[in-house]
């Protein structure tokens, strides 16, 4: 008998393993909230656990009574129905007890909320601006002031996430949780994080910081965090913001203050260099290679890998007059700089040479064989020229 039951259990295990084999490699079975890496996130975790235990105990008591009644007060066991229909005493008791429990939960919650609300005396201020579908971070105050980062979904995730891409999400550990450029911040420093938006409402959430906050166009919300451990922390946009809502992760690298200042210096030099690219001249092949890379990073989610967009939502670039007609070069460049309708403006994010290579690439890819070459200089001029885009 023992052998049979052992066989049975190992068979069951085998079925389970087979069922979940493709997933078990990397998927985890996390059941509970993350404790996070800030004092606040840990207090939130504690509050969560306390409430969870309170409702669990209430549940066990209440359902326990109920099931006892279900098993004992049934007709098939010969139970005769009692006649009572009210009791003022018990009704008062079961009004007072829940009220007391609620008050005892509300007091610590109030204290915690007041603590979270206090953003004063922060050393560094960063503004996170959401747009469809990426995050822009401006370092407004403190060490690193003046740095701007654009952070969008990493190229590998973008490629895998295309429908019928033929690629397996299992091959990418941080699928949909990675960005091309993470935000970098120092540990043990009070950081004020502002959230706002350029277009629709987004929400900025890093579970390890313990909170999320909406990013609302025209309004600025503020929050704070003191990160206590170095590491890479990942989160997501949590307010539906259109087709790319699932594709705008948030990645934060927390480093020591020394590493942070080193990063700031490096970043400032790189930022200055990227501002000054209008004199770079590339040949057709270079433009196509660079253009394809930038296209994949910036344009692919809407216009798709084949340039055909998504019918009804995102227009096709293939054969589009803007991308094909010789008279539309200026319009093409400016549409990328200023955006149009749903299409966001890329002028601030992309350098002249980046824009030049996207324009050259899209004017020559997928059978748009115009042979046009657009150089960085033309983009620099388009920035200064009068707008031809409505």
């Amino acid at each position: 008998m023992k052998g049979i039951s052992k066989l049975k259990s190992s068979l069951q295990k085998l079925v389970l393993v087979l069922l979940f084999m493709p997933l078990s490699a990397m998927a985890d079975w996390a059941l509970n909230m993350r404790q996070g890496v800030t004092p606040i996130s840990q207090e939130i975790y504690q509050m969560h656990m306390v409430t969870l235990w309170v409702v669990t105990v209430i549940g066990i008591l209440v359902f326990g009574v109920m099931f006892w009644s279900i098993f004992h007060h049934r007709k098939s066991k010969g139970a005769k129905a009692a006649k009572f229909s009210h009791s003022t005493t018990v009704e008062i008791i079961w009004t007072i007890i829940p009220t007391a429990i609620i008050i005892s939960l509300a007091i610590p919650a109030t204290k915690l909320l007041i603590k979270m609300d206090d953003t004063s005396e922060s050393a560094i201020t960063v503004k996170a601006t959401g747009s469809q579908w990426k995050w822009k971070y401006d370092y407004l105050d403190g060490v690193g002031e003046g740095i701007t980062i654009f952070s969008s979904l990493d190229a590998k995730s973008k490629e895998i996430s295309q429908r019928d891409s033929g690629l397996n999400p299992m091959d990418h550990e941080n699928y949909l949780r990675d960005v091309d450029e993470p935000i970098v911040l120092p540990i043990n420093t009070k950081i004020r994080i502002l959230t706002t938006s350029q277009d629709v409402i987004h929400a900025w959430w890093l579970p390890d910081l313990g909170w999320k906050r909406d990013a609302i166009p025209g309004f600025i919300n503020d929050n704070w965090a003191v990160i206590e451990k170095t590491g890479t922390y990942r989160g997501k946009c949590t307010e539906i913001c259109g087709a790319g809502h699932g594709y705008m992760p948030i990645v934060l690298k927390a480093v020591s203050m020394e590493d942070y200042t080193a990063w700031v210096d490096e970043k400032k030099i790189a930022q200055a260099a990227s501002k000054n690219t209008s004199n770079i001249v590339l040949n057709m092949e270079e433009l196509m290679t660079k253009g394809e890379a930038v296209y994949k990073a910036q344009c692919l989610v809407c216009h798709q890998a084949n340039g055909e967009g998504l019918k009804g939502a995102f227009p096709s670039i293939v054969g589009s007059p803007v991308a094909v007609d010789a008279g539309n070069r200026m319009r093409h460049v400016q549409q990328i700089i200023y955006g149009k309708g749903l299409m966001p403006a890329f002028g601030e994010q992309l350098s002249d040479v980046d824009i030049a290579s996207i324009v050259s690439f899209t004017r020559n890819a997928w059978g748009n064989n115009t042979g046009d070459i657009v150089q960085a200089k033309e983009v620099a001029e388009a920035r200064k020229a009068a707008k031809v885009i409505k």
Partner: protein, 531 residues
């Protein structure tokens, strides 16, 4: 037999198209509402199947992200406005006149109109699936500025919502007029069955909240087409204003879906415990307090928009306070079972499951109400699990219980009890496999309304999808049981359940086309039998 023949004689009714399109009979209109609701339950359910199929594995397999968002949006609108609300109104139509001894609803022609608006409203809404730019995809909450990016579907969405609102308001007016004017002589308000009470209170919620929604969506319409900037910061407006307006409607709406469910189980549990409802008066007061409080908690849906701390504290306290009257109701149901003589036919099984699973949804609701912790839960699958526990294993389980409880009265036949129990157990297990793991997904960090996810969420999503498919298929069994019951079976007695109380069990089964043409005499004995 002689009573039946006698009733048949009075049972002359129009036939064919005329009977159904021009009906002013509360029973026929009730039937129309119920059939419509069941149809919409499957339309919305099909969309849920698409959602769960796409989420079965990471990666995009079946639909584009935009279409996925449309499914999320339209699924919610259909289930709320097309399935649960019409099912509740259908029950109210059928049962309230029978329960209070009235010959029909007070405003029978308006009753016809409030039903027939619905198919047209949903034709408008569903037609958007075939439009340029696709169906609305900004979530059923219709938050601007995102909703303003909707393509040709936008005005159809707004007018569909307007029509649904008009229909519901007319239904609500009708119920209030009926209950306040047409009770059998001698029946005081505090002698009404609890189902009637919950519907009166629900009607007031509808009348108070739906015009606010209508105003809000009209402002969306003018923002989009007439150059206003109610919700556009660039023009001096505020996108968050819409959220305040929406949830001032939206939170009472939650109770519009839930209160009739409370009323249903308050009828069924005493019937199968063969014991009067415990704490009738406190049930009425608890329902009324929940309804009043529901107008003061709306911003708990918006804790993360950046409310001032005083606002967050106020809405946290008010939200937590709702747990008290809700707790009273749960305790009353359990006290009704206590020392009863219980049997567990399908309506009772669904009702008991309702009490447990709705309470679990209430527990997660209390957790969500605690503002600082809500900053973690908000807009994750934890919320999805929460509201599906209160709406699917809550409201819909109660509606199923009601259908089984009153089917004998509607059709004149007993449904197949064995199949009913199978349907219950399948629904119970599959819905928990479907929604319980979503708590874990939310806590682990999975946001809601995303078509694709990291592999860390893969296992629980697959389990959830399996539960979803099983739940969906199980509901086909319900259709079979209902059709089978309507076609024939064991004849139902006037009092189809041994312990069932109330005037609706005093008329024959099936209930004749016209009932209580002369008001029933409420002797002391009859009144005692009411509850």
């Amino acid at each position: 037999m002689s009573t039946l023949a006698h009733d048949d004689h009075h049972d002359h009714k129009p036939t064919g198209l005329k009977r159904w399109f021009f009906s002013t009979n509360h029973k026929d209109i009730g039937t129309l509402y119920l059939i419509f609701a069941l149809t919409m339950f499957f339309v919305g359910g099909a969309m849920a199947m698409i959602i769960r199929a796409e989420l079965f594995q990471p990666g995009l397999q079946f639909v584009d992200p935009q279409f996925y968002n449309s499914m999320v949006t339209v699924h919610a609108l259909i289930m709320i406005f097309g399935a649960v609300m019409p099912a509740g109104v259908g029950l109210a139509n059928w049962m309230i006149p029978l329960m209070i001894g009235a010959p029909d609803m007070a405003l029978p022609r308006m009753n016809n109109m409030s039903f027939w608006i619905l198919p047209f409203a949903f034709a408008l809404l569903l037609s958007t699936l075939f439009m340029d730019g696709g169906a609305p995809a900004g979530g059923w909450t219709m938050y601007p500025p995102l909703v303003l990016q909707t393509g040709d579907a936008f005005p159809f969405l707004i007018f569909a919502v307007h029509f649904l609102g008009i229909s519901s308001i007319m239904g609500a007016i009708n119920i209030i007029a009926t209950v306040f004017n047409m009770r059998a002589p001698g029946m005081t308000l505090m002698q009404m069955p609890l189902f009637v009470w919950t519907w009166v209170i629900t009607s007031f919620l509808l009348i108070a909240s739906l015009p606010v929604l209508a105003g809000g969506v009209t402002m969306l319409l003018t923002d989009k087409y007439f150059g206003t900037s109610f919700f556009d910061a660039a023009g001096g407006g505020d996108p968050v204003l819409f959220q305040h307006i929406f949830w001032f409607f939206g939170h009472p709406e939650v109770y519009i879906l839930a209160l009739p469910a409370f009323g249903i189980v308050s009828q069924i549990i005493p019937a199968f415990a063969r014991k009067p409802l415990f704490g009738y008066a406190s049930m009425v007061y608890a329902t009324a307090s929940i309804a009043i409080l529901s107008f003061f908690v709306w911003a708990h849906h918006m804790f993360t928009v950046g409310l001032p701390i005083k606002g967050e504290l106020f809405f946290m306290y008010a939200t937590m306070l709702i747990a008290v009257p809700t707790g009273v109701k749960v305790f009353n149901w359990i006290a009704t079972m206590w020392k009863g003589s219980m049997t567990f036919e399908t309506p009772m099984l669904f009702s008991v499951a309702f009490v447990i699973l709705f309470t679990i949804g209430g527990f997660s609701g209390l957790m969500l109400g605690i503002t600082p912790v809500d900053f973690q839960y908000h807009d994750t699958y934890f919320v999805v699990a929460h509201f599906h526990y209160v709406l699917l294993t809550g409201a819909i389980f109660a509606l199923m219980a009601a259908a089984y409880y009153w089917l004998p009265k509607w059709t004149g036949f007993m449904y197949d009890e064995r199949l009913g129990k199978i349907h219950f157990w399948l629904s119970l297990i599959s819905s928990n496999v479907l929604f319980f793991p979503q708590h874990f997904l939310g806590l682990a960090g999975m946001p809601r309304r995303i078509p694709d996810y990291n592999i860390q969420f893969a296992d629980f999503n697959m389990i959830s999808s399996i539960g979803g498919f099983a739940y969906g298929i199980s509901q086909l069994l319900f259709v079979y049981i209902v059709i089978k019951c309507a076609m024939g079976g064991k004849k139902a007695r006037a009092r189809s359940w041994e312990g069932a109380k109330g005037l609706e069990w005093e008329v024959p089964s099936p209930a004749p086309f016209h009932t209580f043409e002369t008001p029933p005499k409420l002797t002391k004995k009859v009144l005692e039998s009411l509850y």
